[in-house]
Symmetry: C2
Subunit: 301 residues, 2 copies
């Protein structure tokens, strides 16, 4: 494994442990509580995944000298939001996906009502984690974290992006490149940018340094999405762990449709270079973020 | 109109205004944004209703000397959570209701995907409101508000209660009185109790005074739910504004099934007296909360 792969794996393991300890327990003294089915579904939805958003938050926070324990809680909150969004996006009335992270989606493994409720409770849990004193002793920082996550994940961010995506599928005309870029910035970009922003908030970063990691995250997020579209177009279902060639079939706007395969590859490479360039003022401390950008460009899943 | 009816109406109007100004706008300079459908659905879901939870928060906060503007924001956040829970509970895969507050439910007026997303974004918005400096200048207070709302509405509160309720419907045996009481405390009681708790947090209430309003809310919330079950059993659909005789038909545990109509009426009356008794230490300042309890006992909708 390369250095970045080892680092990603270690982060993913730590996030899994943090989530396992934060998620409410279905059993107390060997007795399952009445709402156990909900709690099982929440745990199921939080399993697996690359933990990319957590990695960005944790590495950014550490780069600014934050305690890793605090950073892992922020990473876990981000993964709760990401997991909830996947559970809801996969629902039959939304993208109607049966496979996610190589396993049945939550509404297939449980049922639709349980999946909706598990998503709801995971969103609540994210804010609960951030508001807790265990995340940071300074309540100003905690409030800023809550506000930042809410801005990125709400109606003008992730959820708004999903709404546009669903409507675009049903429209007669495909979205333009500009509209597709805005959609992506809301649907996936906002939370990726918030991941770095929250790391910077936790690390008391200066305004300049915070902007540096936010700009990095913006370009990285777009490159990541283009790579996602490329994998959907040319990837292999076993490696990707979810259905492929699905977005194009569904009439969704993808960067591959708009730019072609070679054009998309070029754009992703350019954005990756640009993302890394934003980190210049941070010097060697930002190496893990740079390595991540290179790694994401070549990823197969 | 009685004094309490006037007061409830004035609160409902103020909450409607507060929500109208806080909800994101679908149009900017006469142009509808791409996510406008989502924002329309959020507004639709927030219209109407008794604004009971906001009333509890606002009256409690005012009783402890809080500025009404701050209290209305907390009330609006509670109503966002309440509205989101109704939108999701009404979905086809949950309670499958077509009528709410005398109008088509959100998934009927829009569609299922939009309703799920509107509920999601309303939850986010609630936490966004609470984390904002406009709600209170002290970040400790804001964090306490976020934590209190998250505890009441998450897996061990409202969402957990809805999970138990759905599972109880599918079970062979009806729930016991103890299990039904626990379900109600989670599904509706937790948010009602949080409404008073959040008013007390905002008003820097002493631990004793906070306990007084929380105990009031607990008994009041249970009395309110029993009255709801009575209206479902004996009420009139036009007055109630949603389907009646539905919970019993669906095999849901109701207090009327468990206690009989007369037994349920007696229990609600007893709980109302008990709720008011908890307010004794607060004297005349708590008159609106006492009046609300009496009013709720006699309500026809």
């Amino acid at each position: 494994m390369s250095g970045i792969e080892t680092r990603l794996r270690a982060n993913a393991d730590d996030i899994a442990d943090t989530l396992a300890s934060l998620l409410p327990r279905a059993e107390v003294d060997g007795v399952r509580c009445a709402e156990a089915r909900l709690l099982d579904a929440m745990r199921y939805a939080c399993e697996g995944g690359k933990r990319l958003r957590a990695f960005l938050a944790v590495e950014t926070a550490i780069l600014f000298g934050t305690d890793r324990g605090h950073a892992l809680r922020v990473g876990a909150a981000l993964e709760c939001i990401h997991a909830y969004s996947l559970v809801h996006d996969d629902l039959p009335s939304m993208d109607d996906d049966d496979l996610r992270r190589g396993r049945p989606t939550t509404h297939i493994a449980f049922d639709e009502a349980t999946a909706i409720l598990a998503g709801d409770a995971l969103q609540t849990m994210a804010f609960s984690i951030l508001a807790s004193e265990a995340t940071h002793e300074n309540p100003f920082i905690r409030c800023e974290l809550v506000a930042c996550l809410a801005r990125a994940s709400g109606a003008r961010g992730m959820v708004g992006g999903q709404m546009i995506d669903i409507e675009a599928e049903q429209a007669d005309e495909p979205l333009s490149l500009a509209a597709t870029s805005r959609l992506q910035r809301m649907k996936t970009g906002a939370l990726i940018e918030a991941s770095c922003a929250m790391g910077a908030i936790l690390g008391h970063a200066s305004a300049t340094n915070r902007r540096a990691v936010e700009y990095y995250a913006r370009d990285f997020g777009l490159a990541f999405q283009i790579r996602d579209d490329l994998l959907d177009a040319i990837g292999d279902v076993a490696a990707v762990g979810k259905a492929v060639a699905k977005d194009a079939d569904a009439g969704k706007a993808t960067f591959v449709d708009l730019l072609g395969i070679d054009g998309a590859k070029e754009r992703a490479a350019l954005l990756t270079e640009q993302a890394k360039a934003h980190l210049a003022p941070l010097g060697d401390r930002a190496a893990p973020l740079r390595d991540l950008a290179d790694h994401a460009l070549d990823r197969k899943s």
